[in-house]
């Protein structure tokens, strides 16, 4: 395919204004090296459909209560059993969702093609690659329309804090920040926002001619929304920026309250902590007043299951298991996410409380066994982007902190010694920049 044809495939509806925006972001004197290419890939009728989808998502309630599957689940099950090879092989459609065997990441990793519906279009299929923390590389089948739909859920979350994105032609709407040795970076435009600019950047100095260009470039782009994760936001905080975005959106990892407070104070805008998975998209947004992550997708039903796959009693933590979603290339029926939480009802809809990545880990303290949520609470006051807490077989504790957080090693150590005893806690630097298992233990009984 010629470079021109590739460009048209990435940007089917690109106008001269849109091209000007791409040129501005790519050719700015302080721009980083863009290592990849991407695009919205949306065709004209899909742009119109996306507008309609965003209106629908903005208004639709999450119309179910924990433990009571909504009516649309039954319709979805019938459709999935008729069109998805994995489910067709299971035989008749179960009468109740609870009778259906769950699936997990390992099932997708074994052969994800078995989970793609017969009617999912393949011509423009795209994939998102994820390794997660379990080490199983996984390709998630997706589509440009599915990728574009993410914005609808982010706008729904932003609406709750009074922010309606309005950047359009000639402005940059969203900048996505990474901070990794290697990172997928590109520039694009969002056709549903009058081709406002979208840039995915790596704040790692190796991607820039001059590390000082990072702040200059971000100020030049002046994005309305900045998305990132606790690691990239920790670096973002260090930059001498003039421009203040209207909102920050953090995904991928738990956003510790100390870092959130630091970001809010520095940029004077709402900081959204969104629980999002490649397999599911944005699931919930954290709301301190609700005590957890409020669910965002009107067509996503969530169950909390115990290890045997039975519904956990109300108020008891279990594995977050989802049905539905907006990815028509990978409809989900009882997909076990590998994340743990409790689910409670609220006036605004169901809320995931105590969300902890992966299975909870217990620690043996001076006061007996405690759950890792207590460790999170102990470390809450500190601006830590990410960490690992490991309990050795002799009960001693090693706290590994991101290098930028080593400044708070002493007070964090003291907070933990209150739980584990004086002299029992050692602090080291955490070197891995990717997702890390936060909680690990060598002790028998650490997994309930």
């Amino acid at each position: 395919m010629t470079p021109e044809a590739l460009h048209r495939e990435r940007f089917p509806t690109l106008s001269t204004d849109g091209q000007r925006m791409l040129d501005f972001m790519r050719n700015h004197p302080c721009a980083p090296a863009f290592r990849n290419a991407s695009g919205n890939r949306l065709q004209a009728q899909e742009v119109l459909a996306q507008h309609a989808f965003e209106r629908e998502i903005a208004a639709a309630p999450v119309g179910w209560s924990p433990g009571f599957a909504p009516d649309w689940v039954r319709v979805l099950m019938s459709h999935v059993f008729a069109t998805v090879p994995h489910y067709r092989a299971l035989g008749p459609v179960p009468r109740r969702l609870e009778d259906l065997a769950t699936v997990a990441r390992a099932d997708f990793a074994a052969d994800v093609a078995q989970f793609v519906p017969d009617d999912a279009p393949l011509e423009r299929m795209i994939q998102f690659r994820t390794t997660g923390t379990t080490g199983h590389p996984l390709l998630i089948p997706s589509h440009p329309v599915v990728a574009a739909r993410y914005a609808a859920f982010h706008k729904r979350a932003l609406q709750r804090v009074g922010v309606t994105p309005r950047h359009g032609r000639g402005q940059v709407g969203v900048v996505l920040l990474g901070f990794q040795e290697r990172c997928f970076t590109y520039v694009s435009v969002t056709p549903t926002m009058e081709e406002s600019g979208l840039a995915k950047l790596n704040l790692h100095p190796a991607d820039w001619r001059d590390p000082a260009d990072r702040a200059r470039y971000l100020d030049a782009l002046a994005p309305e929304i900045v998305a990132g994760d606790p690691i990239s936001f920790t670096e973002y905080l260090t930059l001498p920026l003039q421009h203040l975005p209207r909102a920050l959106i953090s995904v991928s990892m738990q956003l510790m309250p100390g870092l959130r407070a630091g970001l809010e104070a520095r940029f004077g805008c709402p900081v959204l902590d969104i629980y999002s998975l490649n397999e599911v998209g944005p699931v919930g947004v954290f709301d301190a007043a609700l005590g957890g992550h409020l669910l965002l997708q009107p067509r996503l039903y969530v169950e909390i299951l115990d290890r045997a796959g039975r519904p956990a009693p109300p108020g008891v933590a279990g594995e977050v298991t989802v049905t539905g979603g907006f990815n028509f290339c990978l409809p989900l029926l009882r997909y076990r996410t590998g994340d743990f939480a409790t689910l409670v009802d609220s006036a605004e809809g169901p809320v995931l409380r105590g969300l902890a990545g992966r299975q909870p880990v217990r620690y043996l303290t001076l006061h007996g066994w405690v759950n890792n949520i207590d460790i999170t609470h102990a470390l809450e006051p500190f601006p830590i982007s990410h960490f690992n807490l490991h309990q050795h077989a002799d009960r001693r504790i090693t706290l590994r902190l991101a290098p930028a957080a080593l400044g708070c090693a002493a007070p964090a150590c003291r907070a933990l010694e209150f739980l584990f005893g004086a002299g029992q806690v050692t602090v080291e630097a955490l070197t891995a920049r990717d997702k890390t298992r936060q909680y690990t233990s060598d002790l028998d009984g650490s997994r309930q």
Partner: protein, 197 residues
Amino acid sequence: MNQAAMKQADLAQLTRRLADIPADFLAEPRIAEHGEIVLPALVGDLLRMHGWQPSPDDLTPFVGGPARTERNRLALTSIAVWLLADASFIAAQASSAALLDVLHQLVGEMAGLTAADGFVIDAERREELVRAVLARLGMLPLGETAAQAADRLAAISAVQRRALLAASRAAEKRAREVREALERQLAAESADKWTRE
């Protein structure tokens, strides 16, 4: 077997029995603590109805393994139990081994091809199941010769098998195309999301 010695049953009456199956027999088979119908108990009751006392080993195949491979088989076992509880089968005095062969081997073969509820919903599949069970037990549909019964079963099964073979080939082709689509360079290049997990 000598045709004169072969017991007979009313095909129409048995297919009607399948169509009128009580909802309880279509409930979820119990696998790994999920589901309502406990198949070993159900099969045990059926054997006792036929005058046999099943051993624990007889019932082991109905405990079930992974849902992906076993759910449809056990669901069809439940339907076959309902069918075999008909008075015409009880009167035929089939051996315990023959009944277990139907419930395990024959049902296993048929469940590998068709969703269990198809044998209730679809008139042709109902007839196929009844004819297959009669043949396996050495019985004949009322008014048919052995040759006629064999021909009709072969015909009805062949149509289904051809359709399933075509579906299976189409499914394999589709899975291959999905894998190829995912591996394409442009797929890896991805498309815009406002956030990246």
